[in-house]
């Protein structure tokens, strides 16, 4: 009777079924999407860090022949260690660098020249001489990392620059000082266009900003805020004015701190152009690197540093010095050994992770020696000996809660108890290790208990059956079988402690430590820092060069943690036993 009605119902069922299956598919897609999203995050996280770290593993070094003149290296003239330590090695390095650019004589030029490296490098020369006094009076080859700003420039990170081969013949009016470059053709037309385009873009951006500030002033909450916004807008408009003269095609193009720099490489020297005639055939400028001769030349290069000098940390002169030294083979890109064999430093090019690494080793040693025995002992007691009463129940609840206490609270505990009550030294690996041990303890206990529980009772019963005491059964039979599991759990707990930062900030392990602590008993109470804290410290540093070093330090830290976890996995694979 329902022959007519049946198809609609079957249809409805079929439609419903299709809908339900679509819902099923959607649901499954959400699941896959969630996992894909999480893994994407992981990939982006690790990828971005690897990308950022890339530049830190190499750096540009400056190799100089330094003559260790007797009167500078040995001021007292008795060759004693004390006298050698007081030698002015930085002066010697400066002398050697000046020999490379004999023309540099004005105070500004010398400051720019000596700014190519950090004076702290003199200490390494001093150490070399103290170790081998016979070097005094000879010429040695000194390799030092160049200043971090120069390094970033040479790596092409901070400064945009292009080299364009010049066309036509160019005649310099002299080899030194203020010179005029004259070409028969409008040789500088390309450069002028480039600079004008940049100026126009810059002016428009500044005007935009001014307009935005003005609209903000309209909606500002207080009178002060409105006035501040208006003043900023007026300043921006004034700044935009300055670009007009450059943009105007009738007037000469004056190059200044807010425009790109135009350098001309000709006859083995470099001229910094300060003004270009509108007809693009004549340029006024100053010689930055002495020309070999004043002959007209076809082979010249326009060197445009597009980042305005107001927006970069190195001067045109320094760029010229750096490039000149590079072409003479004295500045080279090498593997950055400082990153691995130096302790922290204020100068990024000299800063390394060695101090933090040693601090981490010492801290982990203390943590391991405290957390593993105490944790395993607790686990054995609770699992094998403890009577089931209120007290042991309380201990169990306690341990579960401790496992979830935020790590920073352990830092507060360490500060209040270990440092303020017991008077232990601040910033010391000893205290750091103790705090981390307390923090790791619950992890170790929980995993050790799981490992003990996994040993089947038949083992215990067999041991007890042949007359062993409880202690003997536990220590001679159960514990050896549970050992792989216990070790795996302990290593994972230690790996967690290795990456922990917050509690160590509380007990003062954020100090700037320029000397690596000694790798021994005395190092335990010396101020030091650890790898993750070093990452934190560097990430807050203002120098751009620290950014990539932070990422590199993170990679070192992550590889340490991978090592730990790999050890745990190997242990588990090797000794895991299923009952």
């Amino acid at each position: 009777m329902t022959d007519a009605a049946r198809p609609p119902i079957a249809d409805a069922v079929r439609q419903r079924l299709a809908r339900r299956h679509r819902a099923e598919g959607r649901f499954q897609a959400f699941g896959i999407g969630a996992i894909a999203l999480a893994l994407l995050f992981l990939a982006v996280l690790l990828g971005s860090i690897v990308l950022q770290a890339g530049g830190a593993f190499t750096n540009y070094t400056l190799t100089l022949p330094v003559t260790l003149e007797r009167e500078s290296a040995d001021p007292r003239g008795d060759m004693s260690e004390e006298s050698l330590r007081r030698g002015s090695y930085n002066g010697l390095i400066q002398q050697s660098l000046q020999n490379e650019f004999p023309v540099a004589s004005s105070r500004t030029e010398l400051r720019e020249l000596f700014g190519l490296y950090s004076g702290l490098n003199a200490a390494s020369v001093m150490r070399r001489v103290v170790a081998e006094p016979a070097l005094v009076g000879t010429t040695i080859e000194v390799t030092l990392p160049v200043n971090h700003e120069i390094d970033l420039y040479l790596k092409g990170v901070t400064v945009e620059e292009v080299f364009v081969d010049g066309s036509g013949t160019l005649r310099p009016s002299g080899v030194e000082g203020e010179v005029t470059l004259v070409a028969a053709t409008p040789a500088f037309a390309g450069a002028i266009d480039r600079i004008r385009d940049q100026a126009i873009a810059e002016r428009d951006a500044t005007l935009d900003r001014a307009a935005r500030l003005e609209s903000q002033a309209q909606s500002a909450a207080s009178r002060d805020a409105r006035e501040a916004a208006l003043a900023a807008a007026a300043r921006a408009r004034q700044a935009a004015e300055r670009f007009e003269t450059i943009i105007d095609p009738e007037t000469p193009v004056e190059l200044g701190p807010r425009t790109a720099s135009l350098l001309v490489r000709i006859n083995g020297g470099v001229v910094a152009v300060s003004s270009l005639d509108p007809d693009a055939s004549t340029a006024q400028g100053r010689v930055l690197l002495t020309l070999e001769n004043a002959d007209p030349s076809d082979a010249w290069t326009e060197w445009v540093i597009e980042t305005p000098s107001a927006n970069r940390r190195i001067t045109d002169q320094q760029a010229v010095y750096a490039r000149a030294l590079e072409s003479r083979g004295m500045v080279e890109r090498r593997f950055n050994t400082n990153l691995f064999f130096n302790a922290d430093s204020r100068e990024p090019e000299l800063a390394g992770v060695l101090g933090a690494f040693i601090g981490s080793v010492l801290t982990m040693l203390v943590t391991m020696l405290l957390a593993v025995p105490i944790g395993v002992g607790t686990a054995i007691y609770l699992e094998e000996f403890a009577p089931k009463n209120r007290l042991t129940g309380f201990i169990e609840v306690n341990i579960n809660n401790l496992a979830a206490v935020p790590s920073i609270v352990f830092g507060l505990l360490g500060l209040a108890v270990f440092i303020n009550t017991f008077g232990l030294p601040r910033s010391a690996p000893l205290v750091g290790g103790m705090v981390l041990a307390l923090m790791t303890l619950p992890t170790v206990i929980i995993s050790a208990r799981a490992a003990l529980r996994a040993v089947p009772p038949s083992i215990r019963e067999a041991a007890l059956g042949v007359g062993a005491s409880r202690t003997q059964a536990v220590f001679q039979h159960v514990l050896p079988l549970a050992m792989p599991g216990i070790l795996t759990g302990s290593i994972i707990g230690l790996a967690q402690a290795l990456g922990e930062t917050a509690p160590l900030l509380m007990i003062g392990m954020v100090a700037f430590v320029a000397d690596a602590p000694s790798l021994g008993l005395s190092g335990l109470t010396q101020p030091s820092t650890v790898m993750p804290v070093q990452v934190f410290l560097w990430s807050g540093a203002s120098e751009r060069a620290f950014e990539m070093r932070t990422a590199a330090a993170i990679l070192v830290l992550l590889s340490l943690m991978i090592l730990f976890n790999a050890a745990a996995i190997v242990l588990r694979r090797r000794f895991e036993r299923r009952w």
């Binding site: 339900r20 819902a23 099923e24 649901f27 499954q28 959400f30 699941g31 969630a34 996992i35 999480a38 893994l39 995050f41 992981l42 996280l45 971005s48 860090i49 950022q52 903000q216 105490i374 944790g375 002992g377 607790t378 007691y381 609770l382 000996f385 403890a386 306690n398 341990i399 809660n401 401790l402 979830a404 206490v405 935020p406 790590s407 920073i408 609270v409 507060l412 505990l413 209040a416 008077g423 307390l438 303890l441 005491s469 409880r470 202690t471 967690q496 990456g499 930062t501 917050a502 900030l505 509380m506 003062g508 008993l521 993750p532 804290v533 990452v535 990430s539 993170i554 992550l558 976890n565």
Partner: protein, 567 residues
Amino acid sequence: MQLSLFTALALLVLTAIGFLAGRSRALALAGNGGTRLHSLPNYHGYFVALWAGLPGFALLAAYAMFASMAVNSLVLGQMERAAAPLQAQYESELRDDPAYTGAMDEIARLEIAISELRDEADAVIESDGVQSDAVAELRERQAALQFEIDDARFTRDTRAEAVAAEMLEDLRAADDLALARAGFEYGRLPSEQREVYMADARALAFGVELASRDTPELRALADTLRPIHQGLAWGGSLAALGIALAGLAFARTRLAVRFRARNRVEWIISAALALASLIAILTTLGIIFSLLFESLRFFASIDWRVADFLFGTQWSPQTAIRPGQIGQSGSFGAVPLFAGTALITLIAMMVAAPVGLFAAVYLSEYADSRVRSWAKPLLEILAGVPTVVYGFFALLTVGPLLRDFALFLGYEDAVTQSALSAGLVMGVMIIPFVSSLSDDVINAVPQSLRDGAYAMGATKSETICHVVFPAALPGIVGALLLAVSRAVGETMIVVMAAGQAANLTANPLESVTTITVQIVTLLTGDQEFDSPKTLSAFALGLVLFVLTLILNIIALRVVQSYREKYD
């Protein structure tokens, strides 16, 4: 140091000797397989070794803990006694010094004036509010008075300094009473420099480190310090060795054929294990008492206005450095911190809860074992990455990205350090936490429930949504609560990526601050330990601890009761 290291080695040797002595004694007692010992010879050895080692090491540990304190108090006592006449002379000279007494009177007068002014200001604030012109005028007057009082204090201190220097100069010229001079100098030092003074004396006495200064006074102090220190060191070492020897001898006499050496040794072992398990309780007690004690000190220092702390909306601990600035009190209102913490936690959970739950459902219900075997460990990696790395990622990658995106959308005030970037990254961090906990919970749902649903013709997703999920709900709620407690206590990400400004806002693009950020800010860098600013960190720590504790207890309860239902 050298001596105690040597003593420790000697004690170790004694312990080993004890073991061998006990063992050989037991073997001798047993004869050639004649009589049967109660315990194995090794246990006799352990017994003697424990008697030799434990008391000796205990004494050495006690020495290591208390020796420097004892030396200091002895030396300080001697120094004070020697300096007492000098101190008396100094005080009488000050009393007779007109410039000094004049300055003191001036200070007293100004202090009264300031406290009057403050009362007046309180009254004005009460009636006109803090922003009024009258308060501004009063503030200016207070600043002027403060300036005067600082001036007077400076006069007083320089005068006192001059008198002291004169006295010391005379004595130094006569090269007299060097130790008394040391005590006098020490007494005049501010407390933070006293430790340096003692450290210098110690350095001069033992010549191990370099002293930062070298004066006759320090030399005299070093000369006093050296014999006391050495006496104590030798006494401690000899006592430790003596006690070890006595223990060894005593334990050896106890050995006999029927002696229950094994039971004794096992008793000590189980006692040691029980002691180890007490450490966990001690840690909790240590946390509770240290937080509570310092928090009480903090509340005392803000006159017990606990409600202001918990419900105040103004957080600016820095301005309260100068006590009694008009209109600047009551800046410890922690509500902005709670709000910031809540905002970031909310954002984090909005990321972690759906992603983590879906991942868990997929892994436990859909994925075959091959996918599980690589996807699970990969997810766990997210949990293993140190939080400081997430912080760096949030600060340098996510923060700028979000800011540029907000600017692109036309939101002008976007900043790099925002609640959103910190929350997002934190959410990523707790994804594996949510997923692995919920995975366990979902796996614990009995298969019979699923089979029942399939038998009714439900699809897999319908089974999950209508059967598995409701059955697992309590456990999932517990897991989410644990994740929340994790997010609330997380420190490094927010320290690096959320900013410092105590804004009370619900806008995720602004920078906010959290409880943990403020604890770190307050306790890093140079601080004196007694200021309310520093102590407030402990009060915040207490709030954090209580908050996470409550969350954990509820979560564990929920998870447990859920487990019981299906076990």
